[in-house]
């Protein structure tokens, strides 16, 4: 983990946010394949960004977001193309000792198609808060009752 911290400080804040997004994904990495491609940028307080994702019915996804701004609060939520909340669960977390914040949202899509991950900076001491978002996926096993043929 110290290696990630060193790399992040050498590459700037969005890179640091990315390393923390990967760190937030670590607990899921045994079950989910974490994509190397990622989204990122910076946002002001209460500013939102929509991130488009092509999701497939039959898969199970976690979206993990992070920022290295201490005392910030961030969120990620998942919506379908009609603007309806589509996630099955979501969380936000403050990692006091590691000086970063993270958020996650989980979805097992009912339909194949485009979904929107809405990322938001809820609170931050900084004018612009860097963020990064990664996602992981796994296929839903046949016996899963949430998957219909």
């Amino acid at each position: 983990m110290s290696l990630l911290a060193l790399l992040s400080s050498a590459h700037g804040s969005v890179d640091a946010a990315l390393s923390f997004a990967y760190e937030a994904a670590l607990p899921y990495s045994k079950q989910y394949a974490i994509r190397k491609d990622a989204w990122g940028g910076d946002l002001g307080v209460k500013e939102k960004k929509a991130v488009m994702a092509q999701l497939f019915k039959g898969n199970d996804y976690w979206f993990l977001m992070a920022s290295d701004v201490k005392n910030a609060k961030i969120s990620v939520h998942l919506y379908d193309t009609t603007g309806k909340l589509a996630e099955s669960e979501a969380w936000q977390r403050v990692h006091d000792k590691k000086h970063y914040v993270s958020a996650g949202a989980h979805i097992i899509p009912d339909k194949t198609g485009t979904y929107f991950a809405i990322v938001e900076i809820l609170k931050s001491p900084e004018e612009r808060t860097p963020w990064a978002l990664v996602y992981g996926y796994k296929d839903v096993k046949d016996k899963d009752p949430k998957r219909s043929k």
Binding site: L4, E23, P27, I34, D37, Q54, T81
Partner: protein, 291 residues
């Protein structure tokens, strides 16, 4: 660090490698202990999310583009569509290296997707050939180093019939090649690799769905934003690449597919599946044609 563009950007390779080696080392030791240590120093809170939002509140500038799914995201789902005849979908001709770099990039993506079909068909020798082809084609566009280990792993894992492992390596090869091209500021070629993979994957998917048509199978083709994303990607390419006859033809095909895959209609009838298949099959043949 790359400049943030209007679409998603890739982060430095070394950072990703640090994460993925970290995952590997964690897996070797004590995942539950490690995870509980991660969680112990944190506090969890739940912020209420609105049950619905108005997506038109997001102007184009505040929307980030779609990330192209890797083949295993789709093939994992395809596994559940009964027992398709994957062997019949395999293209068995020997891969040749074109002179045109755009065609090489498209062919590289197509070969990686072919690798997934060979895995589904559990054809060890074909998987190994394709693993070697990935290396040859990557060499032709100066990204050999990025896939050397992957290529060896594909061959080793195919020998051991570790099909899940082979899929992981083909996925990794696609992502590594793209990342290496982005690092070399060859983003247009990186897009063509993804596009080649998507076209071959869609070609095979439509053949399978058409063989035993079901609505859930056809629903996998509901990828409207992805089609528009590829269309926009070509529009952003250099004028020289946009005028490349193969790219030009693919652009035309994307426009036709875009009309078929309606954003609002989830169901794609069999006739339209056939149409998409004939369009993608034709361009995949052209991508593979080195004459």
């Amino acid at each position: 660090m790359k400049t943030v563009t209007s679409h998603f950007f890739l982060f430095p390779l070394e950072m990703k490698h640090a994460f993925f080696s970290c995952v590997a080392s964690v897996k070797k030791f004590h995942i539950p202990v490690f995870c509980s240590l991660l969680l112990s120093a944190s506090s969890l809170f739940a912020e209420l999310s609105p049950p619905s939002i108005n997506l038109s509140d997001f102007p184009a500038a505040s929307v980030q583009d779609v990330v192209v799914p890797v083949p295993s995201e789709i093939f994992g789902v395809l596994d559940k569509l009964g027992n398709p005849n994957w062997k019949a979908q395999l293209r068995l001709r020997k891969t040749q290296t074109p002179d045109d770099r755009a065609q090489v990039a498209l062919l590289l993506g197509s070969v990686i997707a072919e690798g997934f079909i060979a895995v589904e068909a559990e054809d060890t020798e074909r998987v190994k050939e394709l693993g070697r082809d990935v290396l040859t084609l990557a060499d032709a566009i100066n990204v050999r180093k990025s896939v050397l280990t992957r290529s060896k792993s594909i061959i080793d894992k195919a020998d051991h019939h570790d099909w899940h492992g082979v899929r992981v390596e083909f996925d990794g090869a696609l992502q590594d090649v793209r990342a290496a091209m982005d690092e070399m500021n060859d983003e247009d070629l990186a897009q063509l690799v993804s596009l080649g993979g998507w076209l071959r994957g869609t070609d095979a998917l439509t053949a399978i769905v058409n063989e035993h048509y079901t609505l859930p199978g056809a629903e996998l083709l509901h990828q409207p934003e992805l089609v528009h994303y590829f269309d926009r990607s070509i529009n952003r390419m250099s004028p020289r690449l946009r005028k490349n006859p193969l790219v030009l033809r693919i652009h035309g095909v994307l426009n036709q597919i875009g009309l078929i895959i309606d954003r609002k209609k989830q169901d794609i009838p069999r006739e339209q599946v056939k149409k998409i298949h004939s369009l993608t099959d034709e361009v995949v043949l052209k991508i593979n044609d080195v004459s």
